[in-house]
């Protein structure tokens, strides 16, 4: 089963490769991984979409926690959460296709963010099903390129997320 795991990690160089290396070294799958800053500039958050049975997911979470630079790991799949992904889709546009392309964009409430004589670049945000759906509709028009962010997710309401609030200081040192 697919799991979405949210990870708070110290924003140090090498932290990303430690995490990706953990997945490759132990044979765990990564469907997608996205990294971004948090309210605290010293901390990044990673959203990892992975797949495995319960035993494997348990190992993934424990192994992530074991990494020295990882502060917190939350399996969002255990609770209510919302997820989004953004895709940038560049399509070929012959003049006879332009109206059809704009119709699809309109139906999905996507946006054309760039246009050249032969292309449209479309931005769309939604859950995975929605993005796959618009891609399928656009495909007959001729897709030149797709860039997807990978999924990001957050717990609903008061649910447990990997949040930087209430964390202790990075280090306390007494001299």
């Amino acid at each position: 089963m697919q799991h979405i795991v949210s990870v708070l990690v110290e924003n140090k160089f090498g932290a990303l490769s430690r995490i990706s290396g953990l997945f490759s070294g132990r044979g765990f799958n990564i469907e997608s991984l996205s990294v971004g800053p948090t309210l605290d500039p010293e901390i990044s958050t990673m959203t990892i979409v992975t797949e495995g049975d319960d035993r494997i997911i348990e190992q993934i979470i424990k192994q992530l926690n074991k990494l020295v630079d990882v502060i917190k790991v939350v399996d969002l799949t255990e609770q209510e959460y919302v997820e989004r992904e953004t895709a940038l889709i560049k399509i070929n546009t012959r003049s006879e296709d332009r109206a059809e392309a704009l119709r699809i964009v309109d139906i999905f409430r996507a946006k054309v963010i760039d246009s050249t004589p032969n292309t449209y670049t479309i931005e769309t945000t939604g859950d995975v099903k929605r993005i796959n759906a618009i891609i399928n509709l656009l495909r007959p028009l001729g897709i030149k390129n797709i860039i997807r962010t990978g999924r990001i997710a957050i717990a609903r309401g008061e649910g447990r997320s990997a949040s930087v609030r209430d964390l202790p200081e990075r280090r306390s040192v007494s001299r």
Partner: protein
Amino acid sequence: MKMTGSQILVECLKKEGVKTLFAYPGGVNLPIFDVLYGQKDLDVVLCRHEQGGGHMAEGYARVTGKAGVVLVTSGPGATNTVTAIADAAMDSTPMIILTGQVPTQMIGNDAFQEADMVGITRPCTKYNILVKDVNDLAQAVKEAFYIATSGRPGPVLIDLPKDVVLAKAAFNYPESVYIRSYSPNRKGNKWQVKQAVQEILKAKKPIIYAGGGVLASDASKELKDLAEAAHIPVTNTLMGLGGFPGTHPLFLGMLGMHGMYWANMAIHNSDLIIAVGARFDDRVTGRVKDFAPNARIIHIDIDPTSIHKVITADVPIVGEAKTILGDLLHYLSTMGNGDSGKYAAWHEQIEAWKKEQPLLYEQNDETIKPQYVIEKIYEATRGDAIIATDVGQHQMWAAQYYKFNHPRTFLTSGGLGTMGYGLPAAIGAQMAAPEKVVFAIVGDGGVVMNIQELTTAVQYKLPVKIAIINNRYLGMVRQWQQLFYDKRYSSSFIGDQPDFVKLAEAFGAVGLSAAKPEEVEGVLQEALSTDRPVVMDFRVDEEENCYPMVPAGAAINEMVFRDPVGPRPAAEIQKAKKAGGILTA
């Protein structure tokens, strides 16, 4: 007052109580060696190959419980330590590796003797760090020692660019350190501990399965107290030997692939396994799906990833062995331990298994049996020596026939299985314990993998006793080829070897040899009577095999006890290969 990075580093090491450095100089760590020159409080042991230096630090760490420290130069000096680092990671040995690095502005330029050590060692260190600013150096060293020695111990590498060790900064050594993203759980959950006690009270056929974690947390006394109070038999993993007295009536010896028959039978037939500081390694479990089918499992480990990794635990307890074993004993006495005779039938059954398949070999008058050498080493040292081994048959015989009564006296490469570990580990051990007798029991294959360290032993007048169990084969490889590959001894014959006596003498050590059984004791006595390093070449039976044995892929109770009689039918060998090497006697 400002100090250079090199001076700061050396001061940090002193603050951490480091007495011995295993080191090799080179271009970029010269500033550090310059500070070390003439230091009175720090012994620098010059290894002859950085891998050897790494294993020395491991040996030192395993004897003292403190982090072993290695200092090497960049590039090849650093990459040569990788095997030792991986070894330390697998066997949870605390180690600090200080690698020189090219100056920061040259990093990434393929500079002379540049290697990305933080990248190369990322998967085989507990943590590693490239120090880019001399002002961060003291903090980095403090954290490195804290991480290496706390929780599940392991190797931590600090990469030190040349400009950083030359730059100056004020020296402030942190008194203590806290890392928010790293806080190992030391105390076990009390509720879980009470659950464990309930399990022990219910059990009829309990067994304690104790590993290296008992040694790492200095919990030998707690283990013995618990076993004696509850009257539960104890088996050790290879890494756990010495954690429970080898001659204790409750001790069953080692379990696993070359473990004692009765230990394997006991674990297989038990109704409760109390696993402490052990990780259900494949060499212990055999075929996992048939492992101890009727046992409830209490699993105590400091590393949460060890729990539920191979075997699902019924009562998982994360924490230090020492604290949790102490708590178990405490609650056991308050929650009603009572009748110590309640496992009588279970102990009787184990005694019957002991009689059924005792550990045995037959010594004749002609050729030395390797097991005989181990027994004689045990007798000659009265079980009081520190024993380091390489990997293979001799390692298993040492584990089977030497009775380790004291913690931190058996040094072996258990997880990674590194040939060439024994000799340098023995040197590190002798540095840590000058008053002890230290033996390296090694094979004729492994000993030449780090033979250069004999020079180190001679230079520092370390009286290590190196016993080569010389069967002119890579013995364990040959054994598998005999049993599973139709005696096709592909590349396992290594009879074209140096004259080890002359070799020892050329290095400036004492060389002795024995080819007849009656010579063994004399050689050992002579070796023990000198305070110089000694190489003993024991010319043993070339085709003696290590038994009992659980063939790869078999269950732990499916042991083989002796060589098969007569040639194996080809079809049977083919079938065995397909099944992953199972060939039953």
